[in-house]
Symmetry: C2
Subunit: 403 residues, 2 copies
């Protein structure tokens, strides 16, 4: 029997307990032993809950119990979760988590602590919910030099953008409806301003490089400025707008950004709609491979945490290889990045556009007199920004073009 503890009995924590219960038989077989929840830590009471007798309020009961070999940290945040994770690892207890904020902020430190105490810190659930993406990077694509990672890493924003495209609605309206359906939080900033995607990109980029990529080094833009008109122009140009996290090796450096992009049909991310997430990895031998699925939700996320628990159970007393050093990555600025760009521009600026951005392509609708769309040829970010400055408020919006 392998005893585990669950820290935090919220959505994911209760999902972990549910997955362990519902797939009990096959999990026992795959873990080669039965996995039993001995404690559930939460500050709240859950009267009448079938696991009420496992509930404790003091983490020390768990930390001091030598029978507990694996801890699931499903609390979230970087306060108590950070402290409890360190205390557990120091006692040789493996920790499996869905807490992307903590992993992005302290991943290499916690991995080193786990190694030092011959246990494991596992975080498959922190990126892409139940989609296996950490394992492909850590243990499958090991013969590859990963050249880039490009992903739709946030389901809320992808849902909003997909709905805006399908229904021609504006951002504010779709956000409201996503909130009503429970696909967006009441305080949606972490999702819509790209911070959630940024944390996930920091984790993926760090695993790609083996060095640390910090959240505050990632250029991050959200989707709140995207309008129905932008999406309509993009569609007319054969493209769709997606919030992408992109991490690219440039020599010894790395370029990292989260921003909306116009994505064409040749990119496998083009067809990834609604609440789905997908991560596209380009390796120097394999080329592109893509991992796709529901990036959030109670049971998908919990399933990934339990998958990590099973791996820890198979590797008790052994360290599972994961390269993510504390050494900070060397960042390349965005100024030199070359992209095509989409601009929505006020009518009348046609000549100025063609002078500043020669050989671009105009997209126009007979029923829209106030503005037009324009797609430039490939150019450097710094040149683009400089020329946009000249146009001033004639430019209504600008979005990068992928590929």
């Amino acid at each position: 029997m392998i005893y585990i503890a669950v820290l935090g009995y919220g959505t994911v924590g209760s999902g972990v307990v549910e997955v362990l219960e519902r797939n009990k038989e096959s999990i026992r077989r795959k873990a080669t032993d039965e996995i039993s929840v001995k404690y559930i830590l939460d500050l709240r009471e859950f009267p009448g809950d079938p696991y009420e007798d496992k509930l404790v309020h003091d983490v020390n009961l768990i930390l001091e119990d030598p029978e507990v070999s694996i801890v699931c940290e499903t609390m979230g945040g970087v306060g108590a979760a950070y402290q409890f994770t360190k205390l557990a690892l120091e006692r040789g207890k493996s920790v499996c988590t869905s807490n992307k904020e903590l992993v992005a902020a302290h991943g290499p430190e916690l991995l080193a602590l786990a190694r030092a105490h011959t246990c494991n810190y596992m975080f498959e659930a922190s990126v892409g919910g139940g989609i296996p993406i950490i394992r492909p990077l850590n243990s499958a694509l090991t013969a590859e030099e990963i050249e880039s990672i490009e992903g739709i890493l946030n389901g809320t924003t992808n849902y909003i953008l997909t709905k805006m495209e399908k229904e021609g609605a504006d951002f504010e309206e779709m956000l409201r409806r996503a909130q009503e359906k429970g696909y967006a939080e009441r305080n949606p900033e972490a999702d819509v301003e790209g911070h959630d995607a940024c944390r996930k990109l920091a984790i993926l980029s760090s695993l790609m490089l083996g060095k640390n990529v910090s959240v505050d080094k990632i250029h991050t833009e959200g989707i709140s400025k995207i309008t129905a008109a932008d999406i309509r122009y993009a569609k007319e140009a054969g493209r769709t707008i997606k919030l992408l996290g992109i991490s690219r090796r440039v020599g010894e450096k790395v370029q990292v950004m989260v921003a909306p992009f116009l994505v064409g049909p040749d990119n496998p991310l083009h067809a990834v709609d609604g609440v789905f997430n997908a991560v596209c990895v380009t390796g120097n031998m394999l080329g592109k491979s893509m991992y796709y699925g529901k990036g959030a939700g109670k049971l998908p996320t919990a399933s990934a945490v339990v998958g990590d628990v099973i791996d820890c159970a198979r590797h008790l007393g052994k360290v599972i290889t994961c390269f993510w050093d504390e050494e900070e990555a060397d960042y390349a600025g965005l100024e030199e990045v070359e992209n095509r760009f989409f601009l929505r521009v006020k009518t009348g600026a046609e000549e100025a556009m063609e002078a500043l951005f020669p050989q671009g392509k105009i997209v126009r609708f007979p029923d829209r007199k106030e503005d037009f769309g324009y797609i430039t040829v490939s150019m450097k970010e710094k040149d683009f920004q400089e020329r946009c400055g000249i146009l001033g408020d004639t430019v209504c919006n600008t979005i990068r073009v992928e590929g």
Copy 2:
């Protein structure tokens, strides 16, 4: 230093050597030791080849060298490859292979032999080339009960079908052009009649169940009867034709088949075009996840073999868990499977069709007088076949409809 041997210096074997050379530094770091090719076994001579000095013709040199701890079997076939694999495993040497024919035919026996000698038999490259799909099933989706696997498992047929759709050409012409481009073999039967996809489905289904699924129990149809007209009707109905391998749990039994299907845009496999492969896995907690990439080719396949070598290097003297028993799976017949069906039928049979298959949908083109398309409502395979029998040669072709 970890010494390995490569059996078979053909496309994949020479790719293995190339991947090890080109990504030497990062592979050394990930394997936590240098991996060195000590022998290459081939019956042929390769005068002037940079690895000429490693070339041997006698497998016993490899088998009897205690320094060799990992063997890459990239010979193919089930003759010598089978024999050499057994001999290597019996000596405690792990074997990594791309040989789907051998894995499908003798997987559980070779896995048991590896376990008995505390080494590993690894075959990530046998399905989907470089796309990680074996590891997601074996070590990531372990908290799931996998309910079904559905995949585009053969790049040659997907290339032909995609081209037929894009260019309106017939099967024979596109096959000829695929052969000219090197995407199809001179003897294309294994690909176009579905045997290659069948072997891969046998491997995936066995891992899904933990029991053995035999190639000869899989109902297998190829694509050679698909015409440009079928594809045109499918497209008009908003669907595309794909050769799918499908494996589905039905209670304690499993339904397995390889056949062309009409696939709609809601299925993520719909957008998988050209030489790309994709595998869609449905788990009871996670729902659908999909794994996508190039399913063949020298370097992608070799990259997967080398990924396995790295995993073996990390686990020398340890057994990596893989559930695939010799016990045969319990098969459910196809008769009870419910699908919708597409039929292409000679003009004049409209009334008969509506009598035999009520509530179906007719698809018609003004410029095609000789036949029409018809999509039935969902019905059992046995009822469908029975009613088709009544229509006799009025029916030009029938294809199942997915979803």
